[in-house]
C-alpha cells in the first residue's frame, strides 16, 4: 500500500521559545480578567443614587474601562440576538413575515425614549443593587447595536448559494453543525463590519445612558459618559478635554486591537474568490498575534483536554445514547407532525398577539390622558423638528457628497483617510454638543438653528461613508471612458459620479435622517456649563417629559416620532431607493 501523507502534527512549542508577542497576549488576558472582575464588582455594588464622580484624571482609566465593558457586553448580547433572530427569520416563513417588519420599525424608532420605562422596570426588579441600572444602560446600548447585525445575518443566510447548503445536507451535517460551520462563517464578514458600526452607534447615547434625571431622581453610573456630564455641569474644562481624549483613545485602541485584526481575519471567510481589488488590508496587531505561540499552544491543550474529557465521558455516553432518542422524540414529533406544528405556531401567534394587545392598551391609556392642547404642542414641535431634520440632511449632503466624491475618486486617498474617518465617526457626537453650543453662543447663533448643526454632527458620516464607497466602486473602465472622451469636470460629475453615488446616497439619507431624529432628543435640550438650554421641538419635548417624569407626554412624543420616522421611511425613502436602484444601479 502506498504510504499516505498526513498533515504535519502541531509540535508543542517549548516555553522558552515564547516571544514578545506572547508577553503581550498574557498582558491583554490579565487586563481583560481584571476589568471583568472590577466590572462585576460594580454590578454587585449596593445601589446609591447619583454616585459621586471623581473628576481627577487618575480615575479616568477606570471609568473608561467601565464604559468599555458595558459596550462590549451589549455587543455580545447583540450578537446573540442577531444570530437567533436572523436564523429564525431566514428559516421560517411565518417568522420572516412577523420579524422583518418588526426589525424595520425597531431600527427606525428613537430608542432613547424607552430609557425611563426600562430603568423603572429594572430598578423595581433589583431595588437594592446596581444591577438594575447597569442592565438598563447595557440594554440601551444594545438597542443601538442589535438591529443592523440581525439584518446582516438574515441577509447573508438568504443569499447563501444553494449548492453549499446541498453539499452540507448530502454530507449529513446536523442543523447545529451547518449553523456553526456554514452559516456563521459565511456571514462572518457582514457580522464583523456591522459589529464595528454597531459599536460606534452604541456610544452615541453614552452620556445619557450613564447619567440622566427622571423626575426628581438623579441616576448615575460610573463611566466616561457620566464623568463627562459631571465635568460639564461643573464647567471643569480640563476634565472635559481629558474625557474627550480618553474617549478618542478608547476608540483608537478598539479599532487597532479589536476591529482591524478581526476585519483582516474574516477575509478568510469570503465566499467569492475575487478580492475587492487593491492590496488586502493589513493589521499589525494580527501579524503580531500570529507570531505568538501561546494561542496555538492553548488550542493544542484545549484539543487534548477535549479528547480526554470525551474519553472520561464515554461510560456515560452509552446510557445517554439509549435515552437520547426518547428525550428528543417529543420535540421532534412536535416539529414534524403537521397538527402539532400548527398548534405550536398558533400558540406563538396568540402569545405575540396578546403581548401586542396589552402593549397597545397601555399605550392607549397613557395617550388618552393627553388633552388637545398637548396634542397641539406635540404636532407643532414635530413640524419644527421635522424641518430641522431635513435641514440637517441637506447640510450634510451639501458638504459630504463633494467630499465623498473627492476622496472616493482616488483609491490612495480613500485608503489613507478611511481609518481616520472611521475613528472620527465613532466618536459620540452628543459629547461635543455642549462645546459646539457654547461656541455658537459666542458668535450669536441660538439653539433653534444650532440644533440643526448638532443633528448634522449626528448624521453626516453615514452620507460620507456611503458616497466614498460608492465612488470607489465605480469600475475603472467607466472612469477611463470619461477621460478618453475628455468629459469636462462638470459633465463628469453630472454623468458619472453623482448617478453612480446616488443609490448609496439614498441609503445614507435614510440612516442620516434616523440619526438626526435620534439626535434631536439630545440636541434640542442641552445642559452646558450648569445652565439648561432648550428650543421648541419634538426632541426637547421628549427630554423635558423625561426630566419631569411626565409619562403621558413622553409616550405621546415617542409614538409621534416613531410614526413620523416609520411613515417617512415607508412612503418616501423606500420608493426613492427603489427608483435609484432601478435607474442608477451599476450592476447590469
Amino acid at each position: 500500500m502506498k504510504l499516505l501523507r498526513f498533515p504535519p502534527a502541531l509540535t508543542p512549542p517549548g516555553l522558552r521559545r515564547l516571544g514578545l508577542a506572547d508577553v503581550a497576549v498574557l498582558c491583554l488576558l490579565g487586563g481583560a480578567i481584571a476589568t471583568v472582575v472590577a466590572f462585576a464588582r460594580e454590578f454587585e455594588a449596593p445601589f446609591s443614587q447619583a454616585v459621586a464622580i471623581d473628576l481627577r484624571f487618575t480615575a479616568l482609566p477606570r471609568y473608561t474601562l467601565y464604559s468599555l465593558s458595558r459596550g462590549v457586553l451589549a455587543l455580545l448580547i447583540s450578537y446573540l440576538f442577531a444570530l437567533s433572530f436572523g436564523w429564525a427569520a431566514a428559516k421560517s416563513r411565518a417568522a420572516e413575515r412577523l420579524l422583518l417588519p418588526l426589525l424595520d420599525i425597531l431600527q427606525s424608532i428613537p430608542v432613547l425614549g424607552f430609557l425611563p420605562g426600562l430603568v423603572l422596570g429594572l430598578m423595581s426588579l433589583f431595588p437594592t443593587r446596581n444591577v438594575g441600572l447597569e442592565l438598563a444602560a447595557i440594554l440601551m446600548i444594545f438597542t443601538a447595536q442589535a438591529w443592523n447585525l440581525a439584518l446582516s445575518f438574515y441577509n447573508s443566510l438568504k443569499s447563501l448559494p444553494a449548492p453549499l447548503r446541498d453539499a452540507c445536507k448530502v454530507a449529513g451535517w446536523k442543523a447545529s453543525r451547518t449553523f456553526w460551520q456554514l452559516e456563521v462563517p459565511a456571514a462572518a464578514q457582514g457580522l464583523v463590519w456591522n459589529g464595528m458600526l454597531s459599536m460606534a452607534g452604541g456610544w452615541f447615547f453614552l452620556m445619557v445612558n450613564e447619567a440622566f434625571r427622571l423626575g426628581d431622581h438623579d441616576y448615575r453610573l460610573p463611566g466616561i459618559g457620566s464623568y463627562m456630564s459631571v465635568a460639564l455641569d461643573q464647567g471643569n474644562a480640563t476634565a472635559v478635554l481629558l474625557a474627550i481624549f480618553a474617549m478618542v483613545l478608547m476608540i483608537v485602541c478598539l479599532d487597532q486591537l479589536l476591529w482591524r485584526p478581526l476585519v483582516v481575519w474574516v477575509e478568510k471567510f469570503r465566499l467569492d474568490d475575487t478580492t475587492g481589488g487593491g492590496p488586502a488590508p493589513g493589521s499589525w496587531v494580527l501579524e503580531f498575534l500570529r507570531r505568538a505561540r501561546l494561542p496555538r499552544r492553548a488550542a493544542l491543550l484545549q484539543r487534548r483536554a477535549y479528547r480526554s474529557a470525551r474519553r472520561a465521558a464515554r461510560p456515560l455516553e452509552r446510557p445517554f445514547r439509549a435515552v437520547g432518542p426518547v428525550i428528543w422524540r417529543a420535540p421532534r414529533f412536535a416539529l414534524d407532525h403537521p397538527v402539532a406544528r400548527r398548534l405550536g405556531a398558533g400558540l406563538v401567534i396568540a402569545a405575540v398577539g396578546a403581548v401586542a394587545l396589552v402593549g397597545a392598551r397601555s399605550l392607549w391609556l397613557l395617550l388618552a390622558q393627553l388633552g388637545t392642547r398637548e396634542w397641539g404642542a406635540l404636532v407643532s414641535s414635530a413640524a419644527l423638528t421635522f424641518v430641522r431634520v431635513m435641514g440637517a440632511v441637506v447640510v450634510s449632503t451639501a458638504w459630504a457628497v463633494p467630499a465623498g466624491v473627492w476622496i472616493g475618486r482616488s483609491p490612495r486617498l480613500a485608503r489613507a483617510l478611511q481609518p481616520v474617518i472611521q475613528v472620527v465617526a465613532s466618536f459620540p457626537a452628543p459629547m461635543l454638543f455642549p462645546l459646539v453650543i457654547l461656541l455658537f453662543e459666542r458668535i450669536g447663533v441660538g439653539l433653534g438653528f444650532g440644533a440643526v448643526a448638532l443633528m448634522v454632527l449626528a448624521g453626516q458620516w453615514y452620507i460620507l461613508f456611503n458616497v466614498i464607497s460608492a465612488v470607489a466602486a465605480i469600475p475603472e473602465q467607466l472612469k477611463d471612458a470619461a477621460t478618453v472622451f475628455r468629459l469636462p469636470p462638470l459633465a463628469r460629475w453630472r454623468a458619472l459620479y453623482l448617478p453612480a453615488a446616488f443609490p448609496a446616497l439614498v441609503t445614507g439619507w435614510v440612516t442620516a435622517a434616523g440619526g438626526a431624529w435620534n439626535g434631536s432628543i439630545v440636541a434640542e435640550y442641552i445642559e452646558a456649563g450648569g445652565t439648561l438650554r432648550t428650543t421648541k421641538g419634538l426632541g426637547s419635548l421628549i427630554s423635558e417629559a423625561t426630566a419631569h417624569a411626565n409619562f403621558p407626554l413622553l409616550a405621546g412624543g415617542i409614538a409621534l416620532m416613531s410614526l413620523i420616522v416609520v411613515g417617512w421611511n415607508r412612503l418616501v425613502w423606500r420608493s426613492l431607493m427603489q427608483w435609484a436602484q432601478a435607474r442608477f444601479s451599476l450592476a447590469a
Binding site: K2, L4, R5, F6, P7, P161, P163, L164, D166, A167, C168, K169, V170, A171, G172, W173, K174, R177, Q181, L182, P185, K268, F269, R270, L271, D273, A582, R583
Partner: protein, 436 residues
C-alpha cells in the same frame, strides 16, 4: 439489459416551483425512471427540462409534489445516506482546507479518529491531490477544486455517486482528463462506487460515460427516450462506434429540440425562442459560408462554440421567421434568409418587421396594443404571457419580445413608466413609420 438490483426509482414524479414573481413553474411532470446497481445513467436534455431537479430528488434534497422516490424499494426519508454528490459549482467551503472539505461527510457516518484520517488520505490519493491537504480551495484551479469535490464524495465510499454537470464549469482539457478518471474510479472496485447518475449538457460526455442515456424534453420536464449504450469501456472517442452512438443521440436530441412541425390550429400561440437578434443573424451569416447553405445542428453548434441547446433555440427562432428550414437534423438556409442577409440595415429591419407581424405571439401583442390605442402596461402583457405559457418565465420571454420589437421598429418600451407601445403598424409600410 439492466442486470443488477433496482437501486433508485422515481415513480410518476411531479415537481413544481414558485418563481420570485409568483409564477408557478412545473419542472417535472409524471416522470418515472429507475437506476440499477452497476449502472452509469446519464440524464441529458435542454436546459430547464428538470434533469437537475430529478437528481436532487434522488439525493433526497427535495420532496416531489406528487409521486414517490424509492431507494431499494423503500420511500426516501431525508437525505439518501447511500449517495454522495458532486456539484457543478464545486460547493466547497472556502474556509475549510482540502482535507477538512473532504472529511465533511465522514462524521455523520460515524467515521472518527484514525479511520477518518485514513479515509480522507485515501480519497485525496485517489483523485491525485496528495500534497494539497492543507491548501484552501481559493488557492486551487477549477480542475483541482472539482477533484476535491470528487474526493469529498469518494471519501464516504458511497454506493451511488450523483453528479450535476460535474465538468460543466471546467475548461475542455481539464474536463476530458477528469472524465476518463471518473470512468477509472467507477471501474475500480476499491472505491466502492458502483452506480453513477450524471446530469450533463454534453452529448460526447454522455456517450463516453453512460451505459444508459435518458433524454429529457422540456416544458414541462419529461422523459422523451432512453438509449442503451453498450460500447465497451474504456471508450475511444474517435472510434467509429463511438461516433455512431453520438450521431444516434444527436438524432434523438434534434427530434426533441427541433420537432417536425405538427399541423396545429392556426390560432395557436407559439412562444418565440428567447434568443438575441445578433444570434440569429450570426447563424444566417455562418450558413452563408457553408456549401449549399446548410449543416447539421450539432456541427453548427460546435463551429460557433455554443451548446446544442442554445443553438437549437436560435435555429427555431430563424425557422419561425421563415429564414431556415430544418429537414431532420439539417438546418437549411431559405431563399428569404439569403435575401435578408443581402439587404442593408434599414431594409433588413423592414423585412424582420413584416415577418414578426406574422409570428402568432407578436401578432397577439400587436393586436393587444391596437385595442388599447397603441400602449399597454407591462403588467398586462406579463399576465397574458403567464396564462399562455405557464412553463416559461414570463419576464424573460417579455425581454425577448421587447428586444425583437425594438430591433424591427415594431414596438417601443419605456422602462421608467413600465409601458409597451406600438411603433410601426404590422403592414410594415414606410408611411406608418412617419419617415422619409
Amino acid at each position: 439489459m439492466t442486470s443488477g438490483t433496482l437501486l433508485l426509482e422515481a415513480r410518476q414524479v411531479t415537481q413544481r416551483f414558485r418563481l420570485p414573481n409568483g409564477q408557478v413553474l412545473e419542472a417535472l411532470r409524471d416522470v418515472s425512471l429507475s437506476v440499477c446497481e452497476h449502472e452509469v445513467v446519464a440524464l441529458v436534455g435542454p436546459s430547464g427540462c428538470g434533469k437537475s431537479t430529478l437528481l436532487r430528488l434522488f439525493a433526497g434534497l427535495a420532496r416531489p409534489v406528487d409521486g414517490a422516490v424509492l431507494y431499494r424499494g423503500q420511500p426516501l426519508e431525508g437525505v439518501l445516506a447511500a449517495a454522495a454528490m458532486v456539484f457543478q459549482s464545486f460547493a466547497l467551503l472556502p474556509w475549510l482546507t482540502v482535507a477538512e472539505n473532504v472529511a465533511m461527510g465522514l462524521e455523520a457516518r460515524g467515521v472518527d479518529g484514525p479511520a477518518r484520517r485514513d479515509a480522507v488520505a485515501r480519497a485525496i490519493n485517489l483523485v491525485g491531490l496528495d500534497g494539497f491537504e492543507q491548501a484552501y480551495p481559493k488557492e486551487l484551479s477549477g480542475g483541482m477544486k472539482q477533484r476535491v469535490g470528487f474526493a469529498r464524495a469518494l471519501a464516504v465510499a458511497p454506493e451511488i455517486l450523483l453528479m450535476d454537470e460535474p465538468f460543466g464549469a471546467l475548461d475542455p482539457l481539464t474536463a476530458e482528463n477528469l472524465r476518463s478518471q471518473v470512468v477509472d474510479l467507477w471501474r475500480d472496485p476499491a472505491t466502492g462506487v458502483n452506480t453513477l447518475v450524471v446530469v450533463t449538457h454534453s452529448v460526447e460526455e454522455a456517450v463516453f460515460l453512460a451505459g444508459r442515456i435518458v433524454v429529457f424534453g422540456s416544458n414541462p420536464g419529461h422523459v422523451r427516450e432512453e438509449l442503451e449504450n453498450a460500447l465497451p469501456y474504456p471508450r475511444q472517442e474517435r472510434s467509429p462506434e463511438f461516433e455512431d452512438m453520438v450521431d444516434r443521440l444527436h438524432a434523438i436530441l434534434t427530434a426533441t429540440l427541433l420537432p417536425e412541425p405538427v399541423p396545429t390550429a392556426p390560432q395557436r400561440l407559439v412562444p418565440f425562442p428567447r434568443v438575441h437578434v445578433s444570434e440569429v443573424t450570426g447563424l444566417l451569416d455562418h450558413l452563408l459560408t457553408r456549401p449549399g447553405g446548410k449543416g447539421p445542428v450539432f456541427e453548427l453548434a460546435e463551429d460557433l462554440g455554443v451548446d446544442y441547446d442554445r443553438m437549437s433555440a436560435v435555429v427555431r427562432a430563424a425557422e419561425q421567421l421563415g429564414w431556415v428550414t430544418t429537414p431532420g437534423e439539417v438546418v437549411q438556409l431559405m431563399p428569404a434568409g439569403r435575401e435578408v442577409m443581402a439587404m442593408d440595415d434599414a431594409a433588413r429591419k423592414d423585412a424582420t418587421r413584416a415577418r414578426l407581424a406574422k409570428q402568432p405571439l407578436f401578432a397577439r401583442v400587436v393586436a393587444m396594443l391596437k385595442e388599447s390605442e397603441g400602449a399597454v402596461e407591462d403588467e398586462e402583457v406579463l399576465a397574458d404571457l403567464t396564462i399562455y405559457f405557464p412553463f416559461i418565465p414570463a419576464d424573460s420571454l417579455f425581454g425577448t419580445i421587447v428586444e425583437w420589437g425594438r430591433y424591427a421598429e415594431l414596438l417601443d418600451h419605456d422602462a421608467d413608466a413600465g409601458r409597451l407601445s406600438l411603433l410601426g403598424l404590422p403592414e410594415g409600410s414606410a408611411e406608418t413609420r412617419g419617415e422619409a
